[in-house]
């Protein structure tokens, strides 16, 4: 899976939890889930669970705490996919 595919899948996953639609339209690697997309911290858990299902990976506490931006999330997903 290349980065564009991964980003596209991630965008689909986060879309239902995003409060700021404008920020979603202008999504970049540096987009912050809480600050820019206005996802609440409880819904970040739903994002993580949906990521686990979509990519068939398991996210632990340590990885979860990192996944606050698009870039960090892609890195975590890539790492988990690599060790699968």
């Amino acid at each position: 899976m290349n980065k564009e595919e991964l980003l596209s899948k991630l965008k689909t996953i986060i879309a239902p939890y995003v409060q700021n639609q404008e920020a979603l339209k202008n999504l970049t690697e540096n987009t912050d889930f809480i600050k820019d997309l206005e996802i609440n911290s409880a819904n970040l858990v739903d994002v993580i669970l949906d990521v686990e299902d979509e990519f068939d990976i398991e996210i632990d506490n340590e990885a979860m705490e990192k996944m606050l931006t698009v870039k960090a999330s892609i890195e975590v997903i890539e790492n988990k996919l690599a060790i699968k």
């Binding site: 911290s41 409880a42 819904n43 993580i48 669970l49």
Partner: protein, 154 residues
């Protein structure tokens, strides 16, 4: 040699003691059943609950937000404290309801007893999400929906 472990399974009565609520905002009397997957609890609304004065004028009916609160106190707070297995400490932890979606079928009047059943959807990263239902003493569905909440260290 006998090794005594500190019990990790909380007793039903102990959970209510650990709740971060008090009157007039405690809406749990009893936990009837609890395990890893579900909880069942009850509350009887008193005739003089503070909100009956204004909801409604000369026509006391339990507000939907209070029914939701009752379901959250049983289905999220009590259940969550149980699922946290001894990690919960009222001095250090707090809870917050983070979302709910509820449908109401029947009114609840003063002095009515309600039964709340919550089934775990998931408990991950200290977030608990449950399908909840509330029944009256005639076993008629009063309200049904989804609640979610999070426990966090203050």
């Amino acid at each position: 040699m006998v090794v005594h472990f500190k019990s990790r399974v909380l007793k039903k009565e102990d959970i209510i003691q650990k709740l971060p609520y008090s009157k007039p905002f405690l809406f749990v009397d009893e936990i009837i059943e609890i395990d890893e997957d579900h909880i069942k609890g009850s509350y009887t609304f008193l005739s003089d609950e503070y909100f009956y004065n204004g909801h409604f004028k000369d026509n006391p009916i339990t507000p939907g937000v209070i029914l939701t609160e009752c379901m959250a106190q049983i289905g999220l707070a009590c259940f969550g404290i149980y699922l946290l297995k001894g990690k919960w400490d009222q001095g250090e932890w707090s809870v917050a309801m983070t979302s709910n979606e509820m449908n109401f079928n029947k009114p609840v009047f003063p002095e009515e007893k309600v039964m709340v059943v919550a089934d775990k959807v998931y408990f991950r990263f200290n977030k608990l999400k449950c399908n909840v239902s509330m029944y009256n003493t005639d076993h008629i569905l009063v309200a049904k929906g989804i609640v979610a909440g999070i426990a966090f260290q203050k």
